[in-house]
C-alpha cells in the first residue's frame, strides 16, 4: 500500500512534533529555532518542510496533539464518576500535573496564547473547554454542591481564566508552589459558588488533592 519512502516520512512526523513541543515548552515562540528541532530528530530541514511547511504549521500540530492529550486525560477523570464539583477539582489538578511534567501539554498551552489569534484557534479551544466544564457545573448544581442561581457558564469561564492566570503569576518550574497556588485559588473561589454547608468537606477534598499531586510531580523519597 505505502512504499518504504512514505513510511519513513510518516515515522518522522511524531518525533518532529515531540521535539518541537520540547522547544516550545521552554522558549517563547519567536525564539524557537527550527534548526534545534531538526537536529533533535536528526533529519534534514527539507524533510521537515515535507511535513510542516512553516514554524506555524509545526506549532499548530503541537497544539492539536496537546489538545488530544488533554481530551484523553479528561475522559479518564470523567470515567471515574465522582460528583460534579469533585470532578472539576480533580480536572484542575490533572491539568496542573500534565502542565508541570509534560512538555507537550505545556507547549500546547503556551502556543495557544502566543499564536492562538490565528484562525480564532484560541477562542475556539477555550469555548470548547468552557462548554465542557459548564456541563459538569450543571451536574454539581443538581447534586447540591454548587448553589442554585449561579450561571454555569460564568463559573466555567471563571475556572478557566483563573487557571490561565495562575500559569502567569506562579511558576511551573516550582511544582510544589504551583500546586499550592492552585489550592489557594480553590479555597478562595469555592465560597463564591459552593454550598456553604459543604465547604468544610470540599476544602479538605482540595487539600488532599494537593498532597497527592505533589507526590506525583516529585516522588517522595524512600524514608529508609
Amino acid at each position: 500500500m505505502t512504499d518504504p519512502a512514505d513510511r519513513r516520512a510518516d515515522s518522522a512526523r511524531g518525533p518532529l512534533v515531540r521535539a518541537a513541543a520540547q522547544q516550545f515548552a521552554h522558549k517563547p515562540y519567536s525564539l524557537v529555532n527550527l534548526d534545534d528541532v531538526v537536529a533533535a530528530v536528526d533529519i534534514s530541514r527539507g524533510a521537515m518542510y515535507f511535513h510542516f511547511p512553516s514554524k506555524q504549521a509545526l506549532a499548530t500540530a503541537v497544539i492539536a496533539e496537546a489538545h488530544e492529550l488533554g481530551r484523553q486525560a479528561a475522559a479518564g477523570v470523567l470515567a471515574n464518576k465522582l460528583s460534579g464539583l469533585e470532578t472539576l477539582i480533580d480536572l484542575s489538578y490533572l491539568v496542573a500535573v500534565l502542565d508541570i511534567g509534560e512538555d507537550l501539554a505545556r507547549a500546547g498551552l503556551y502556543l495557544l496564547e502566543s499564536i492562538g489569534r490565528v484562525e480564532g484557534l484560541e477562542a475556539r479551544s477555550l469555548r470548547e473547554v468552557v462548554e465542557a466544564l459548564a456541563h459538569i457545573v450543571r451536574r454539581a448544581v443538581s447534586e447540591g454542591d454548587i448553589a442554585e442561581g449561579c450561571d454555569p457558564e460564568d463559573i466555567a469561564r471563571l475556572l478557566v481564566s483563573t487557571y490561565i492566570g495562575i500559569r502567569h503569576t506562579s511558576d511551573l518550574d516550582n511544582p510544589q508552589q504551583f500546586l499550592l497556588d492552585i489550592e489557594k485559588a480553590w479555597v478562595l473561589l469555592l465560597p463564591g459558588f459552593a454550598n456553604p454547608e459543604r465547604m468544610r468537606y470540599l476544602s479538605q477534598f482540595v487539600r488532599r488533592r494537593t498532597a497527592v499531586a505533589s507526590g506525583k510531580v516529585s516522588p517522595q523519597r524512600d524514608p529508609t
Binding site: G76, A79, N80, D90, E143, Y201, R208, R209, A211, Q220
Partner: protein
Amino acid sequence: MTARQTRSEVTRRKIIDAAVELFNDVGYSGTGLGDIIERAGMTKGALYHHFNSKEALAVAIINEGSDILLKTFQGISRSSAPALESMIHGVLVTVDLANTDKLVRMGAVLLRIFAKFSEASTLNYGVWLAEMGEQARRAQAEGDLRDDIDAQAAGEFIISAMLGAELISNAVSGGGDLLERVTGTWEFLLSAIASEQSLPYLREFLARESLRRRGQSMPT
C-alpha cells in the same frame, strides 16, 4: 486485524453472549452445549473451534468479567485521588458494575461455582489481592490507613469483607440491597483501619458517594 479474525471474534462474542443468557435463565448445570449452539445460531463446529467444553466457556466468561472489573478498578486507582478514597470509590463502582452488567455478573456467579476447582479462580483472586494490597500500602504512606496495621492484610481483608457482603446480598435480596450492604461494611471497616485524623473526612466521603449512587441528595 484481518477480516477473518474479525469474523472469528464476532462468532466468539455471539457464543459467549448466548451462554451468558442461558446460564442466567436456566443455570450453568442445566445448560447443555446443544442449547448454546441453538441460541447462538451456530454450527457445532463453530462452537468447538472456540471452546472445547462447557467449562472452557465458563472460564472465558470468568476471565472476561474479571478483566472488566479489574480494568475499571485500576482506572480509578490511577486517578489523582488519595488511595483510600480510590479504594472506597473503586469498590462501589465495581460492585455496581457486577450488579448491572450481565457478563460481569455471570462471571462472578461462575467464579463461585468453580472456586477451588479451577486455576482461573485462583488466578483471579490473586490479582485482586495484589491490587488491593498495593493500594493499601499507598494509603498508609498517605496517612489515611493506620500505621500500626499490616497494609497487605488490610487490603486482603477488604476484599474478603466485600465478597461476603455480595454473597449475603445475593442470597437475601437477589442483590437488591447490595449497595447498602457494601456501604455498611465500609463504615465498619473505616472505623477499624482509618487513621484518627482522616476518619471523619473519609466517613463523609463514603456517605456522599453512597447517597449519590442511590440517587438521593448528598448530606450537607
